[in-house]
Amino acid sequence: MQVSKEWLKTFIDIDVPTNELSEKITRGGIEVDDIIDYTADIKNLVVGYVKSVKPHPEADRLNLCEVDTGEEVTQIVCGAPNVQADSYVIVSKVGGRLPGGVKIKRAKLRGEVSEGMICSLQEIGVKEEFVPAEYQDGIFIFNTAQTPGEDALTALYLNDQVLEFDLTPNRKDALSMIGAAYETSALFGGDVKAPESSVSEIDDVITMNIENSDSEAVPFYAVREVKNVEIKPAPLWMQIRLIKAGIRPINNVVDISNYVLMEYGQPLHMFDRDTIGSDKIVTRLAKKDEAFTTLDGKERTLTENDIVITNGEVPIALAGVMGGLDSEVTAQTVNVVIESALFDPVKVRKTSSRLNLRSEASQRFEKGVSHEFILPAVNRAAHLLEKYAGGKTLKGIASEGALNLEPGVIQTSASFINNRLGTDLSHADILETLEKLGLGAEETSDGINVIIPSRRDDLKIPEDISEEVARIFGYDNIPSTLPEYSTITPGRLSDEQSEVRVIKRQLNAQGFSQAINYALTSKKRIGEFTDLSESLALLMPMSEDRAVLRTSLVPHLVDNAMYNVNRQQKNVSLFEIGKIFVTNGQDQLPDEVEMLAGIVTGEQHKTAWTQSFVPSDFYTVKGVLNALFAKLSLAERVSYVQAAPHDELHPGRTAEIYLDDKKIGFAGELHPQYAEDYDLGQTAVFEINLAEVLKIKTGSILYEFLPKYPSMSRDVALEVDSSVNVSEIIDVIKDAAPKYLTDVYPFDIYEGEHMADGKKSVALHLTYLNREKTLTDKDIEALHTPVEDALVKAGYTVRG
């Protein structure tokens, strides 16, 4: 909504600087997005009278004009095709300035002196799209006599600033000049003057009959008829005010309709009475696939949800959205029918958005128009047609339906308002504020009844009144307090939330940077690194790459690694904590599972001059996970099982991870082919179900007394088949020596020279501890011999 200050002043006496007006309106709840100042960058612009025009002797397209600019008569060279003698024009004098940094100097054009410039509207800052058609290709010419030398901006009603309102959806009341005036009045005081809308009806009675066949779609429909109008340009002030409001003037009849729309926020439609084709207007819902040509010449196919205005037979307008081509006001129109109505907002919104026809009219119907302005608007239009189009208004208004002109009542109280706002306003303060807003107020025994005019039917509940009071009272004046709770509860992270933070810090400390990827991915990445083969799909994706919800975090981490490697970041370690989505069908909520995934590629922790680094292999990610499980007190419960669960992974270098007996994820190296497809070398990844991990409660640390007696150790060297996993050997050892064995770990694995084909050597270190006494050699012997026996029995060769 663009509010001209000059126009606003016709509704309310307001004499404050534009900046102050704008600031106060903004702080009052309507953001003034921008101030369009038509006077900015303009100097020395006057009205000129063109006394004579003769062709430039040296240039076909130029004319030499003798122009009276008040103090003097000068020659100005003009190239506009519409320049003519005996006309009043806009002249930028020598020394003048125009928008865009243009300075007007005395010039010679092909040998002829030009002292100034005759201007078009565009040249003085009017947007091309709002310039009336007749002036679009030339200079502007006043349509009435002016005084030469007078300030042209004043003569043009452009000595003005326009406030651009960025209205929130609840402030439809300010979608009109009268609404802007009420808002100004609430903030600055002063009375709002309604526009003159008296009508001089002639004796002839209105000829149209109205019938609404669906009273929900069209609760009220009214028309007036004005005959014998003369189609011509509207008066200059009206045209310019429309331009300032962002509407292009067309002719007096159309302009009056738009002018009243801007005044009251009530869209009107003007029909050519003689092309309606009947004496009645019937409003109804369109028939399925009913065809209708709108006034832009396009044939529209309608649906049963569109409201149409018909002549009893065929549509003549699409209610609230656009008129019909056949009944449009044209240069030949003599008699008009003015429509002022109320339409179902939701239906208008659906129609306008389906047909992509959003207009000043439709956006007001969508938000709901004020009942109280429907009849004043139609009268105002008739009044203006009488005055500026020579029309005669027929007797009566034809209408059907009822308007709700009874003001609404909201029951509230000072204590309620003060409680919601945290203020200490008196009864009188509140009543005064309501009065400023133009709302009525009645004191009752236990509070205040606020009387709501229909222009503010957005106000429905006591909370709305608290907002109105707050914004007029001023948010700066509201005190600052902290809540006083009915019960004090501590604030803290949940166990899971604390653990997630610990995990993030630990991975950071191990060199992993935190990635955040998009949850939407392409269909072709579904099924990678997961057993899930189905995904949730968007109804209307914006691109194939973002069409479905991810089923694993790893594919995007692979993309991230590739992105970095391709930008000279060869050593990458990233982790991500985020959700995957397990579909339960498109019309059900999915299972959202929080996962932790990571990727390493290149050389980790690399020290170039010592040539040392940690490779990006399986054992690195396994080590990272082990440290994590140790931190979470779960290391003892986690096991790794050799597996080849997904095609994207190296079948020999991948393990599935179990927490107790539950599979929670995997760690492995990328399949070399897959890695190559993403420009990666040896790369290891992991992904675990974090939700499962966090679910486990491990409680406090259980402290053990330090042992008083020394531990003893023994090494075992074995020769085993290459295919034997170390974990199998350890299981054998643990089974054989359940007592006092506190630790067993492999310290050497060898395969190759000096070993038979298909064999490897495995050396393990065993630690025994009796917390009650020192173990003697004899004791160890007794413990260790069964271990060696068991290893032999298992088919391993114990080496000397």
């Binding site: 706002l421 914004r471 935190q514 955040i516 998009y518 980790q604």
Partner: protein
């Protein structure tokens, strides 16, 4: 001292002066003090002496032995000190070479901002609630006073999966669900961070996925002034002590009254700069008093209970705080970007910077 003894002493002195390493010294010790050593050999003379002479002779041998032992010990100390010195010299390294690399990773700036905000509100007694990213239309819209016909619900802005299932467009459904689970009993004090989705084309300032953090307080006697006080404290804590807060009336379907919250610009301190677009103020939050319809739909008596809610975008906060020029950097996971966010931060000089 006998002549023999003197000879030994002189000879020893000669030999000792030639010793320059611990091996030679050890040999010398054996030569004189060993079982077959020269000093030890003197004792064998005892048997040729009379009983009267023996004690004096023995004493003399012991004096000689002590002298030799002392001399050896002294040289030993000297030699080992020299050897240590030499060893240290040999072991000297170039301390200006880089240390062994222990890489550390960076946090995504969004996460840093979210944790800072969480920690502030935890300090005020709030809990953190997270929820579904895929939501029912009901919790994302209807329970928040956005019925199906509401004009603010534009199909174009929402990623729908089916008619009733969608990607949440804000974290507010967490509030709706939390309220509902309270069965009409306060107090509720929660902070809800999380990913949200809008049907937007990605560019420098728009992202189809971004982050939101919302707060909700519901109890008896919660006032708009409590919201103002809480957010003032928040602005000072997160953005610096001299930050001011300004509320402007606004509109959200789920709050009434609704406000936009500006903080005085932390870069220019309100003087006007490119960060605040010359206004001195930065719009950072939307907030308001919880709409009674929202409370009622969740089972709260809106006469008895009231509350406030606020929401902000950590992506935007991160971009403002660090001057990040493109929102897509937050989701590209370029190490050159993330690893700028390794260091810890504090309030800076007098808590002046953000």
């Amino acid at each position: 001292m006998t002549v023999e003894m003197e000879t030994i002493q002189l000879e020893f002195n000669d030999k000792l002066s030639a010793v320059d390493n611990s091996k030679a010294l050890s040999d010398l010790r054996v030569e004189y003090l060993g079982k077959k050593g020269k000093v030890t050999g003197l004792m064998k003379e005892m048997k040729n002496l009379s009983n009267e002479e023996r004690p004096a002779y023995g004493q003399k041998v012991n004096v000689l032995r002590n002298e030799i032992e002392t001399a050896i010990a002294e040289l030993e100390t000297e030699l080992s000190a020299a050897a240590m010195k030499e060893k240290l010299q040999a072991e000297t390294i170039d301390v200006t070479l880089p240390g062994r690399t222990m890489d550390i990773g960076g946090s995504n700036p969004i996460d840093r901002i979210v944790e800072d905000i969480e920690d502030f509100f935890i300090g005020l007694g709030y809990e953190i609630k997270e929820g579904y990213e895929v939501e029912q239309d009901y919790y994302n819209f209807e329970a928040l006073n956005l019925p199906k016909s509401h004009p603010a619900r534009d199909m174009q802005d929402t990623f729908y999966i089916s008619e009733e299932i969608l990607l949440r467009t804000h974290t507010s459904p967490v509030q709706a669900r939390t309220l509902e689970a309270q069965k009409g009993e306060g107090p509720v004090k929660i902070i809800c961070p999380g990913k949200v989705y809008r049907r937007d084309s990605d560019d420098a300032t728009h992202s189809h996925q971004f982050t939101q953090i919302e707060g909700l307080v519901v109890d008896k006697n919660i006032h708009l002034s409590d919201l103002k006080g809480t957010l003032e404290l928040f602005a000072k804590e997160i953005f610096g002590d001299d930050r001011e807060v300004r509320l402007r009336p606004s509109y959200f379907p789920f709050t009434e009254p609704s406000v936009e919250v500006d903080i005085s610009c932390f870069k220019c301190k309100g003087a006007g700069c490119n960060v605040c677009k010359q206004s001195g103020w930065i719009e950072i939050l939307g907030a308001g008093m919880v709409h009674p319809n929202v409370l009622e739909m969740a089972g709260f008596d809106s006469k008895e209970y009231s509350g406030f809610a606020f929401g902000m975008g950590p992506d935007r906060v991160a971009m403002l705080k660090y001057g990040i020029e493109d929102i897509r950097h937050l989701y590209t996971n370029d190490l050159r970007f993330i690893d700028q966010f390794i260091p810890t931060e504090d309030g800076g000089e007098a808590h002046a910077s953000i």
